[in-house]
Symmetry: C2
Subunit: 405 residues, 2 copies
């Protein structure tokens, strides 16, 4: 096998080449060797050597040349390469306040099965979450006629501040404790590698792979559920910041010494637009029957109730201000407002979007495009599966390097 | 000469290699060929070919091996390479509201001369600015005993919204017009290439090259002058956003429907912390002798005048809120508060910095470091010179590619 050259930073150049080549194949769907060399700037000889390794390892396969594709050149047909779907079975799981949604996909990303596991309550202990993850995976496998041992990796999405590199939870609204080594606990309990991330980052990944941001290298996703989340993609990569949990949006401040937030600080955006913030406003009169149904409040606003309208109007204005700030700082080409909560339209009404545009610095160039994308938990789970696919690819390719050394 | 391979994106791989190799040499000061190969991941054979080209072009030179450096291996001494200082003379110029400051440097960045040209007023027409730039360059050359024809490139820094890729001014407080093709006007008037950028980006570059951010790949610089500016560095590169003028800070909103800003919008940070904003507050009583001296106002605050203190206190609180938002969004490892205006300490007092820290999302990880760095116009001009050096390097190396093709 080829000589492994370790650089001064301890990075294995051949491994970087393998990751680049595999990523080029996965991204393109099907691609010829010479086009891989062009795209990755890896030399054609090295591409040939690496693809031979990947073929031997069963991660990719050759497919017969598509001779009838438009614009195909005459002469010797070029063999294309693609990811081998059977190489690995991957699970993606999103835990929300109501359910754990699981999707099983093959290594090409084709759906193999779906499963939804209802939760007894929105907050649990770390031990309860481990048990929940096991039951949800068992259920998904049973429904798809597969075994847990068939799964090569699990992508797991949680709301909150997640350090993806360490599978560590700084804080999550789903957990009753802070600073949880959830990744270690899951690895102890289940014989499968886990790859965790903040749920908004998973949505960003899903938008990039199968959503509204295909072929967009720089964009922002704002997710709207109980709270508001943000995923930032720069140069096609999730931006994580120094402490691994950057891209905070819900706790940016929109009012000096403003409304009290669940996080203990004042004036956070979430303290004006989160579910609890809207209901807190609605309960201002301290009635014997406290308002606890956001849908009902929303319906009253739609029907013209002045107080209900005032609540949603202010939330919309604060949201517009926060979003305009993010756009001023990042100047992205595309902003996607994404999530389930989008069924409440007060945060993406024409009026709110116009306010955002009016609050962005005006230059002689088009404003960023703002797209609204409503989807359910299944798409969040798809993002988690994409995270699992990436993690398993990296692990497998690293093991090639270890075997070769 | 080597075959030039054009990729599908039309990028010249050999030129990318040349830029990487030259950048590695410039960054390290002095470096052996084998270490260039390690750092750039360009093959040793290609490094040898490229350095031969750069030597022939006179951009770099060999220096005698430093045999007494600590840890030097025995055996054949390795020849090191460095940038050839005499290869190019570069000018850096910063235009502020009071002066045009020029620094002349050689291609290694060593100072050759300095010059300060006072302005008749802070705002001028584009034609007046072109004439100013010519006079300032002439003065700098005369003072250093050089001719304008000796200069290979000029880095030029302006406050405002600058599209660096196009040398285009969307808006600058120094100009009486918007959307000015200043780069084209300067090229028509002066026989030397110009490389323009927003002044805050130039400070970020200067901090990276010779300031507080050496060896830091991700950091934020906040500049405080008449207004507040921001430069963002991600992966060692200035982050510019989609429209080329991203990283806006002064016009992020800190108050819904707040104080009127010079930009015409409401609630911008600058409408609370800018010079004009502080003086507007001080003139609330509409006295016959309007307050127009910020230093005097500041001295009164220091002496305990309640109204003056209230003005600076609010500015500090608003600034802390805006800065905490940027930190929440980016999670950088380092924030540098930089600039001349820093002589007024109300924006970087212990109290303000503590407010920033208390407003950042709290996780079980250290908060970003916030450093205060006071410097004068000369350091801004140094950043402009660094911008000019980069531009001239790219132009020269591109011309090698054209000659080779």
């Amino acid at each position: 096998m080829a000589v492994i050259q370790r650089t001064s930073q301890g990075i294995d150049q051949r491994e970087i080449g393998r990751q680049q080549v595999f990523e080029a194949i996965r991204k393109s769907g099907r691609i010829a060797r010479i086009d891989i060399a062009r795209e990755t700037q890896v030399s054609p000889a090295t591409v040939t050597a690496i693809t031979a390794e990947l073929l031997t390892a069963g991660l990719i396969e050759e497919i017969s040349p598509d001779s009838d594709r438009p614009g195909a050149k005459r002469g010797r047909p070029r063999v294309a390469l693609k990811v081998r779907g059977d190489a690995h079975l991957i699970a993606g799981m999103k835990i929300s306040d109501r359910s754990a949604t699981v999707i099983l996909v093959d290594f090409e990303g084709n759906t193999v099965g779906e499963y939804d596991h209802e939760l007894p309550g929105p907050v649990m202990s770390p031990e309860e979450m481990v048990s929940l993850v096991r039951r949800a995976l068992d259920g998904a496998c049973r429904a798809a006629g597969r075994r847990l041992a068939d799964i090569s990796g699990v992508g797991l999405g949680l709301a909150g501040l997640i350090d993806a590199a360490r599978n560590f939870v700084h804080w999550s609204p789903s957990l009753d404790q802070r600073n949880v080594e959830l990744g270690l606990m899951l690895s102890d309990a289940l014989p499968v590698p886990f790859f965790m991330d903040n749920d908004a980052n998973l949505v960003a990944k899903a938008e990039q792979l199968f959503g509204q941001a295909r072929n967009v290298s720089d964009f922002i996703v704002i997710t709207i559920e109980q709270g508001v989340g943000m995923g930032i993609v720069i140069d096609s990569k999730i931006y994580r910041g120094e402490r691994g949990c950057g891209a905070e949006f819900g706790h940016t401040k929109v009012q000096l010494d403003g409304a009290l937030c669940r996080c203990g600080q004042r004036g956070c955006l979430e303290a004006y637009v989160g579910d609890y913030a809207l209901l807190r406003e609605a309960n201002i009169r301290g009635s014997a029957q406290p308002e606890d149904d956001l849908s009902a409040l929303h319906a009253r606003a739609k029907a013209g109730d002045a107080m209900a309208r005032s609540i949603f109007d202010r939330a919309g204005r604060m949201f517009a201000m926060g979003l305009a700030n993010v756009i001023n700082i990042f100047d992205p080409s595309l902003v996607i407002l994404s999530g389930e909560q989008m069924t409440f339209d007060f945060l993406y009404s024409e009026e709110v979007l116009n306010r955002v545009k009016a609050s962005v610095v005006q230059v002689d160039a088009p404003l960023p495009e703002i797209r609204v994308h409503k989807w359910g938990d299944l798409m969040w789970a798809k993002g988690a599966a994409a995270c699992g696919m990436e993690g398993v690819s990296e692990l497998t390719i690293r093991s090639l390097a270890t075997n070769a050394a």
